[in-house]
Amino acid sequence: MSTIIADNLTGKTSAGDITVTSEGGAATQSLQQGLAKAWVNFDGVGTVAISDSFNMSSITDNATGQYRYTMSSAMSSYDYSVTFAQAVDDPDGSTDIWTNGFRSNHGCLPKTTTVVSMGLYDGVYVDCGYLSSVVLGDLA
């Protein structure tokens, strides 16, 4: 077994591109592009608070069931991928299925290179005590 001890990994041919071999050994893929660039777990009830995170500077309670988080290091463009999930315990006591997603008004994208806006909906917007989100894409 071998171990690499390092604080930084940088591509030799291209600084931002390190290739890794796939699990099955039949393909290669960019290490940098496959890594999550930010993630957050937070409590959206009452005073919104981050439980744990990576590359996250703050989170804001926009309104009931609507949140906005800000990443510490910016993405290179808004063309990144985001997913979002919540716990299933329904705080309003209904049995409705929750849907989560990203809300935009006036034709604007619900994200910039540093900020993502999201919402949680089951007919009306609802707060939730356990939410998480992951960002994939290219850092600036």
């Binding site: 071998s2 171990t3 071999t21 039949a26 063309d79 997913t83 989560n100 997603g101 990203f102």
Partner: protein
């Protein structure tokens, strides 16, 4: 000549280490940011093509295939007030008469982009923005 390192573990100068299997297994094998209304891709990893099968119905083909069909795709669309819909957009795996197995393949995944209204009914919709990811093992 490109450099090549073969190792089982990565360790920082501070002594924290992680098995390289976490780096390889834990990395996303696919992501996409797409415009459903234009049926176009703005940014992606491991996507060879995007096929528009109908309203809110898209197939993402992978450049490098997955090792098996037990990978984990997730994604979202987003509600745009100008779209005239009142609920948040969802990105969901295609499931029809043929079952999930007809649409979640090692070489591609087919998804519906929908909104769910206050009565919990879903409708396919071509949202301006949608994005998805997949984790699992490459072949």
């Amino acid at each position: 000549m490109a450099g090549k390192i073969i190792a089982d573990t990565l360790e920082t100068g501070a002594g924290a280490d992680i098995a390289t299997s976490y780096v390889v297994n834990g990395s996303a094998k696919f992501f996409v940011h797409m415009n459903a209304s234009a049926a176009s891709t703005q940014n992606s990893l491991n996507q060879s093509s995007l096929t528009d099968n109908g309203t809110g119905d898209f197939t993402h083909a992978f450049t490098n295939s997955m090792d098996n069909v037990y990978y984990t795709p997730t994604g979202h669309g987003y509600y745009n007030a100008s779209g005239g819909n009142s609920a948040l957009a969802q990105w969901t795996l295609k499931y029809a008469a043929g079952g999930l197995a007809s649409y979640k393949l090692t070489s591609s995944v087919r998804v519906d982009i929908v909104y769910v209204d206050a009565n919990q009914n879903r409708t396919n919709y071509d949202y301006e923005g949608a994005w998805g990811t997949a984790h699992g093992d490459l072949a």
